[in-house]
């Protein structure tokens, strides 16, 4: 697995290409990310626009929008997650098969965005599920989604299969299922999943 | 008597047994198809290609599906019976079946010495079957055709929803 970079380049010059298992695996994962057919609000329209002719997400092999979460690799949370919807989003995420990725697209998905002061708006989906990439914007331009997609590819590429930074699905201790919040009398219960969401210490 | 024969026999009989013994009706139907498929392979072993293919087409492709549909439509796969899956008179039924098998088996075993031993495969290609159907067996063919049509119409009428006005 550990082939020296320099050696590899040298071999490549002489026509010998060395591919490690890890590279092949990561290459396969990153080149074939099928998103889930899932849209929430305004950003969903920009997400659809990204798959359309002008921007053509298909160039990256990611136009295969699977309607079933079982077959999807990536969930693009495109839009406001309300407290009424949040349990469903978590449930859908739970139904996805590993490896799975989450892109929080747009201000609302990251933090509640312009609607964060609303009583029915969840302040960021990362309170319940782990998010890989955040795209700011309201809504982000389609190019921004493409850029985020490439950032996700880079992230996948950089993941070693063993050791510290290994992806979650290869980590036996990592949680596979995330508890679904319940809809209480005034708010979601619990208000955040403490295992996923660690409130940063504010220095101010 | 080759190994193939024993394997196929085992498969067929296991399928048949499972079909009558399993609890879940869909499993029964699926085992039934195993039995049918095994039978088709036995037909192939007996050099009856045409019949084997017809067996798969009709039994696996149609009858099994029909059974499955009937199971789903009557929703018998999911409602566990209070009194078990077997009838109250299962003992009588079983003994009748055992008796029949005993008689048949006895007859076969008794007659073994007189059974023919021919082993060369008879030629029976599709052309011959077609010609036979159109010449010697044309009357039965027509009757079967009529019967099938009648059965088709009958099945449709039986299974058709009554119109609301009929009540």
């Amino acid at each position: 697995m550990a082939v020296d970079e320099g050696l590899k380049i040298e071999l490549g010059k002489q026509g010998v290409f060395v591919t490690t298992l890890q590279e092949l695996y990561n290459w396969g994962r990153r080149s074939s990310v099928w998103p889930m057919n899932f849209g929430l609000a305004c950003c969903a329209i920009e997400m659809i626009a990204t798959t359309m002719a002008r921007y053509d997400l298909a160039r990256f092999g990611a136009e295969v929008f699977r309607p079933s979460p079982r077959q999807a690799d990536m969930m693009i949370i495109s839009g406001t997650v309300t407290k009424k919807m949040a349990p469903q989003v978590v449930r859908l995420y739970n139904q996805m098969a590993e490896p799975r990725y989450v892109i929080a697209m747009g201000a609302c998905a990251i933090s509640g965005g312009p609607f964060k002061q609303g009583y029915n708006v969840l302040k960021g989906i990362d309170r319940y599920i782990p998010v890989d990439i955040h795209i700011p914007g309201c809504p982000p331009r389609p190019e921004a989604l493409l850029e985020a997609f490439m950032a996700l590819q880079k992230k996948i590429d950089a993941q070693p299969l063993t050791g510290e930074g290994r992806p979650r699905h290869l980590d036996a201790d990592a949680p596979g299922e995330f508890p679904v919040p319940a809809q209480g009398e005034h708010d979601l219960e619990p208000a955040a999943n403490k295992n996923v969401w660690t409130v940063p210490v504010v220095i101010r | 008597m080759s190994v193939v024969f024993f394997v196929l026999t085992a498969m067929t009989l296991a399928g048949a047994l499972a079909a009558v013994l399993l609890k879940n009706l869909v499993h029964c139907a699926l085992s039934l198809t195993v039995a049918f498929a095994g039978l088709a392979l036995l037909f192939l072993e007996l050099d009856a290609q045409f019949v084997a293919f017809v067996q798969i087409l009709v039994y696996v492709g149609a009858v099994a599906i029909l059974v499955v549909f009937a199971i789903l439509l009557t929703r018998s796969a999911e409602t566990p019976k209070a009194g078990g899956v077997f009838s109250r008179t299962w003992l009588a039924g079983l003994s009748v079946a055992a008796a029949v098998f005993a008689v048949l088996g006895w007859a076969v075993l008794e007659s073994t010495p007189w059974l023919p031993q021919t082993t060369e495969a008879p030629a029976a290609d599709v052309g011959q079957i077609g010609e036979a159907l159109m010449s010697r067996y044309v009357l039965p063919l027509e009757i079967v055709a009529l019967l099938l049509t009648a059965a088709l119409i009958g099945a449709v009428i039986v299974a058709m929803h009554e119109k609301d006005g009929a009540q």
Binding site: - | F5, D47, L115, P116, A151
Partner: protein, 107 residues
């Protein structure tokens, strides 16, 4: 082994066993569909007999056994269709497919 003497005997035994299994199923199961399945098995056992006799019989070129099997398959298909149609119809009326409970004369 008996089969060694005549391959036909082996087939006939298999057919007999299958017939018995089908009969046992038809007689012991409560579900009407299972009864039909048993009957199908019996019919198939008969078909196996027919083909086996044709194969090892004295005049295979006449194709009688095979023809019989073909007709039997066709008729069995029709029988299955009508039989299952009846079961569904009974279920619609009586709300049961349990043969033990199908003892009322009116629907």
């Amino acid at each position: 082994m008996i089969g060694g003497a005549s391959p036909l005997a082996g087939y006939l035994l298999v057919a007999a066993l299958m017939f018995a299994i089908g009969l046992a199923g038809a007689l012991t199961r409560r579900n009407a569909i299972l009864v039909l399945i048993g009957i199908e098995l019996m019919l198939n056992a008969a078909n196996l007999n027919l083909i086996a006799f044709w194969r090892y019989g004295p005049h295979p070129e006449v194709l009688t056994g095979m023809m019989f099997a073909i007709f039997s398959i066709a008729v069995a298909a029709a029988e299955a269709a009508v039989g299952l149609g009846l079961v569904i119809q009974i279920h619609r009326h009586a709300k049961t497919v349990d043969v033990d409970q199908m003892n009322r004369m009116k629907g």
